[in-house]
């Protein structure tokens, strides 16, 4: 199992949103994407998911060029939780999560007990079994995000792509989502805004101006120089006096 971007570029309305990105996602790792607003994190995730066609370059999935693969086949391997996916339909949480079975069901195939079990398992993993029959519109932001992740897990993906899943959530729900993602035994690529949260990833890719400018362990990538150049802030890496975990402290550059 492997996912690899080769010289990947994307343009929209003649503006380059992503330029010449080479990146290999390692099996079972959690790869964080960090970068300022508009740097190209979401674009990279969409290209990796095969949702957009690259303007140039390729995405390789298990050694195959993704452009030649049917959507259905990609969706059986890669699931994506995008930002701000909402619905006007009046559906229950369980129905929303059940949509994750779409790539496995054909027009002549009926929903099976196995599908039921997979959906129930996905709901349990995000701790939403008790909310399964609730209507989607009655959910809070954090619950919706967890339901989205459950929907992605119902696809039984080997690779999960998450676009800023902690956006607009309070701190308790942010930590809960991150904990949930960390415990998944699959490959995860996650775009994150909070650099302290990014510290817990296995590796970090820094994207700026559509280019991949660093790819390494969090401690190496989030160096004082890198943070000054990319994010325009002054940072210090501290240690929690109790547990010794690294914590970043930021100040405006003067």
């Amino acid at each position: 199992m492997s996912l690899r971007a080769e010289n990947l570029g994307f343009q929209m309305a003649r503006r380059a949103l992503l330029e010449a990105v080479d990146l290999e996602v390692m099996p079972a790792e959690t790869l964080g994407l960090v970068g300022p607003n508009g740097s190209g994190k979401s674009t990279l995730l969409r290209l990796l998911a095969g949702l957009w066609r690259p303007t140039y370059g390729r995405v390789w999935l298990d050694g195959r060029d993704m452009r030649g693969m049917p959507r259905r086949e990609i969706a059986r391997t890669i699931a994506m939780v995008a930002q701000q996916a909402d619905t006007g339909e009046r559906i229950s949480v369980r129905q929303a999560v059940a949509l994750g079975r779409t790539p496995f069901l054909g027009p002549l195939q009926d929903w099976s007990a196995q599908d039921d079990a997979i959906v129930a398992d996905a709901l349990a993993r995000v701790g939403m079994t008790a909310l399964a029959e609730r209507s989607w519109h009655s959910l809070s932001g954090g619950e919706r995000q967890r339901a989205h992740i459950a929907r992605a897990l119902a696809q039984q993906p080997r690779i999960l792509l998450l676009d800023e899943p902690t956006n607009h959530l309070d701190i308790r729900h942010q930590l809960r989502i991150l904990q949930l993602v960390r415990e998944l035994p699959i490959t995860v690529v996650i775009a994150l805004h909070d650099l302290n949260q990014a510290l817990s990833c296995d590796r970090l890719a820094v994207i700026d101006g559509g280019r991949l400018i660093a790819l390494d362990t969090p401690e190496k990538v989030l160096s004082v120089e890198q943070l000054r150049d990319t994010f325009g802030v002054h940072a210090r890496l501290l240690r929690d006096p109790q547990g010794g975990e690294p914590v970043l402290h930021f100040r405006q550059l003067r």
Partner: protein, 354 residues
């Protein structure tokens, strides 16, 4: 058939109550044939059907038999087909474009049909060789093709529509196309129609089942059946659009192909219906919403429910349009809105499941 497909086919089980849908439809058709200015007993209708379809030889009054077979039954069948086809078209467009205001005429189809009809009826296009229906059909398809071409050009161009989501582009192009064709229709009527012709065209535009014969059913019935089949085949794809096109794509739906096939299909179905009976409003907009409230948003149930409700609703509206004012047939579009609006208000206020 390979073993795998056979296995999959066996796994698709039809719910045990499936027969209620055709049963309800049959009762509605019989009622549509029985009710009218001269009420006809249901057993007479069954006898006529048996005579015609099964070669039976019951004694039936010839005039009654003629009314039932050539007039009322054909009319009820076409009404059912139009109701089902229009309701399904609205359902598909609402789901794909994620716009609750989407209806079958969104893409300029009724406007194009009226232009085509007016060109034939008023401007004398085709010199009497082309029928009104054929003109309407050509107008509808021309308008749809123009709207789709405009939407594609807008999305890929560098103008104001660049980068617009496909759903938004279709809706805006539909507004442009509808306005253009409505203006053309008005222009032709203003230039060359007599008052009598203008009145006739207006009646036709509001929907009219009066001239419907079995020949119309020969086109409307396959169109309606095709609509049901295509919608059922794509029911999971329609479900997957609940969270938008991107989300559908990430769940394995080939968004461009599904959108292309479904939109072209419902446009053709709508064009067939409009060319037979005029632009009957309200059914395509409201029946799918009402059914969502009643059976939920899952298309496995929504597709049959919408088709059935559309068919029954249209048969009922036709009956009412025939008997409401003695000696006069009202345009069915007036009735669909008169019954539909309060019914929909009731569903909005009282309806409910998840």
């Amino acid at each position: 058939m390979s073993a795998v497909t056979a296995l999959r086919l066996r796994r698709y089980r039809v719910p045990g109550w499936w027969w209620t849908a055709p049963a309800v439809l049959l009762v509605a058709l019989l009622a549509g044939a029985a009710i009218g200015e001269t009420a006809i007993a249901p057993d007479t209708i069954l006898k006529v059907i048996a005579n015609r379809l099964l070669g039976a030889d019951y004694a039936v009054d010839r005039i009654e038999g003629g009314i039932i077979w050539s007039y009322r039954l054909s009319r009820a069948v076409v009404a059912a087909c139009c109701g089902a086809g229009l309701a399904l078209s609205g359902m598909v467009l609402q789901a794909l474009l994620r716009n609750p205001l989407a209806d079958p005429y969104l893409m300029g189809i009724s406007a194009g049909a009226s232009t085509g009809a007016v060109l034939v009826a008023v401007a004398g296009l085709g010199g009497g060789v082309i029928s009104l229906s054929a003109g309407a059909m050509m107008g509808a398809i021309a308008a749809f093709a123009l709207v789709v071409a405009l939407a594609r050009a807008a999305v890929s161009g560098a103008g104001g529509g660049a980068g617009l989501p496909a759903a938004g582009a279709i809706i805006l192009a539909g507004i442009a196309g509808s306005s253009l064709f409505n203006a053309l229709t008005a222009f032709i009527i203003a230039r060359s129609a007599s008052a009598e012709q203008a009145r006739g065209i207006m009646f036709w535009l509001m929907g009219n089942l009066s001239g419907v014969r079995w020949g119309d059913a020969g086109l409307a019935l396959p169109a309606a059946l095709a609509a049901v089949a295509i919608c059922l085949w794509n029911r999971r794809a329609l479900d997957a659009f609940a969270f938008g096109a991107d989300s559908a794509a990430s769940m394995g739906i080939n968004v461009r192909r599904v959108q292309g096939v479904l939109i072209a299909a419902v446009a053709l179905v709508t064009a067939v219906m409009v060319s037979r009976v005029g632009a009957i409003g309200f059914v395509g907009l409201v029946v799918p919403h009402a059914m969502r409230f009643i059976v939920g948003s899952g298309h496995t149930r929504l597709v049959p429910a919408t088709a059935l409700a559309g068919a029954v609703f249209m048969i009922a509206a036709d009956v009412v349009s025939r008997i409401l004012v003695a000696g006069q047939v009202l345009p069915i579009g007036v009735i669909t809105a008169l019954i539909g609006a309060p019914a929909f208000a009731l569903v909005l206020i009282r309806g409910g499941r998840v």
